[in-house]
């Protein structure tokens, strides 16, 4: 290994006998290992192996720049509005808000295992798309279609005419995590059309009314 045996030719001695002198050169690698270990420790502590994940989002342009006729109208039956509130609470109402009946605002949870989670709601509302996407994924898995055609076709399915449109409205007290979780659900449930919108006083009224079970609206009316 680190030993080198050197024959130093051997000098001739009296009587013609050849004596071989052996010199062992042994290189000690211990300091080398020490240094390497030190360097490894340094690299392990000061670097990161994994690159962070990102989520790409495209926000709509400012409302004042868009003319009235250019604004896209959402079909009432397809719209779902998610309201993200403080303490990890989520509410939703389908279509137009109903300000009279506080029960029109329904509770949701972030936990996908719950019965009334965002995921179960969206998967149910988006059933057709999810089925089609799953079929498409199967085709891709069997190498029938390429990555590009998969992307193009899934885009077309997700943005079809009859797919639901989700409007995410976080309140000021919702956390960043809530927003990312909600966006995450869009990706999991193959929602092609979703938008992050700012909360309106009407939505805040709905939440308050829901929390107080209609008492808030009564107080306002009086």
């Amino acid at each position: 290994m680190a030993e080198i045996q050197s024959n130093d030719g051997g000098g001739k001695k009296k009587g013609g006998k050849v004596k071989q002198k052996k010199i062992n050169i042994f290189v000690d690698f211990t300091p080398m290992v020490d240094m390497n270990m030190l360097l490894i420790t340094f690299f392990m502590l000061c670097t990161s192996l994994s690159k962070p994940q990102t989520m790409e989002i495209v926000m709509p342009t400012n409302k004042k720049d868009v003319k009235e006729e250019e604004q896209s109208q959402v079909k009432e039956s397809l719209a779902i509005t998610l309201l993200l509130d403080k303490d990890n609470k989520v509410y939703y109402y389908p279509g137009k808000p109903d300000y009279v009946n506080y029960n029109s605002l329904k509770d949701l949870t972030y936990n996908p295992k719950d019965e009334n989670s965002i995921r179960s709601l969206l998967l149910m509302r988006n059933k057709d798309v999810v089925e089609k996407i799953n079929l498409l994924k199967l085709e891709k898995l069997n190498l029938k279609i390429s990555q590009d055609t998969f992307a193009a076709r899934s885009f077309r399915i997700k943005n079809g005419k009859q797919t639901p449109v989700v409007i995410i409205k976080p309140t000021d007290k919702a956390t960043y995590k809530n927003l990312v979780d909600a966006l995450d659900e869009m990706q999991i449930c193959n929602i092609g059309k979703y938008v992050i919108d700012s909360i309106t006083p009407g939505d805040e009224f709905l939440i308050k009314n829901k929390e107080t079970k209609g008492v808030y609206a009564l107080g306002k009316a009086n």
Binding site: M1, V33, Q53, I57, D172, Y176, V180, L183
Partner: protein, 199 residues
């Protein structure tokens, strides 16, 4: 009487193989890993299932801490210099070459532009200590954040904006940043997230 012969064994261990292994490991770490950037605040990013990796270059990272302080970092030193001189000239502050060269080595910046000169005159150790209490003003009366982003975009048109925020940050803070970006017509950006374990 015959003596019992105790065979003499050398206690020397051959370290060559060990050295081979360590060098191999070292090479692996050097090739695969990237250096962690020094950030003034610890940020716990929320998890998501998204699997898109962030590109290496041309990133403008916006760091937001739970109390709403905003920091920025650019990955190219040339951009850093361009941005600082552009922002400085907008506020009527001229920076010397020495200050510019000091600025370009900063991993993350985030101070009021009016306090930038004093900040750059500090020692690096003091800079680190002070920086976490500073932050770029984002309020609507004096939105310096907007000026920074605008000039960063001019300095490098290929720049991609990445937002890295703590999961406990209230949405009002994020909304403020997003609206500022919106005003600049920066509609496409990335949110940095961690990988979610369960699906």
């Amino acid at each position: 009487m015959s003596k019992v012969k105790v065979p003499r064994k050398s206690t020397r261990i051959d370290m060559t193989a060990m050295s081979d292994v360590t060098v191999l490991l070292l090479t692996f770490f050097m090739l695969t890993s990237t250096f962690v950037k020094k950030e003034p605040i610890q940020v716990q990013t929320p998890a998501s299932v998204s699997e898109i990796k962030i590109p290496d270059t041309d990133i403008l990272q916006i760091l937001i801490d739970p109390s709403g302080k905003v920091f920025m970092s650019l990955d190219k030193q040339k951009d850093m210099v361009d941005v600082l001189s552009a922002v400085g000239s907008e506020y009527g502050i001229a920076f010397s070459t020495k200050e510019l060269s000091k600025f370009k080595t900063l991993p993350t910046f985030g101070t009021d532009i009016n306090a930038m000169k004093t900040f750059l005159s500090y020692e690096p150790a003091k800079q680190d200590k002070v920086l976490k209490d500073l932050g770029i003003p984002t309020d609507s009366t004096d939105n310096q954040f907007k000026v920074w982003v605008k000039n960063a975009r001019i300095a490098n048109p290929k720049l991609r904006i990445a937002i890295k925020a703590d999961s406990k940050t209230p949405y009002s803070v994020i909304k403020n940043v997003m609206n500022s970006l919106r005003d600049l017509k920066e509609n496409r950006y990335n949110l940095i997230t961690a990988l979610k374990e369960d699906k």
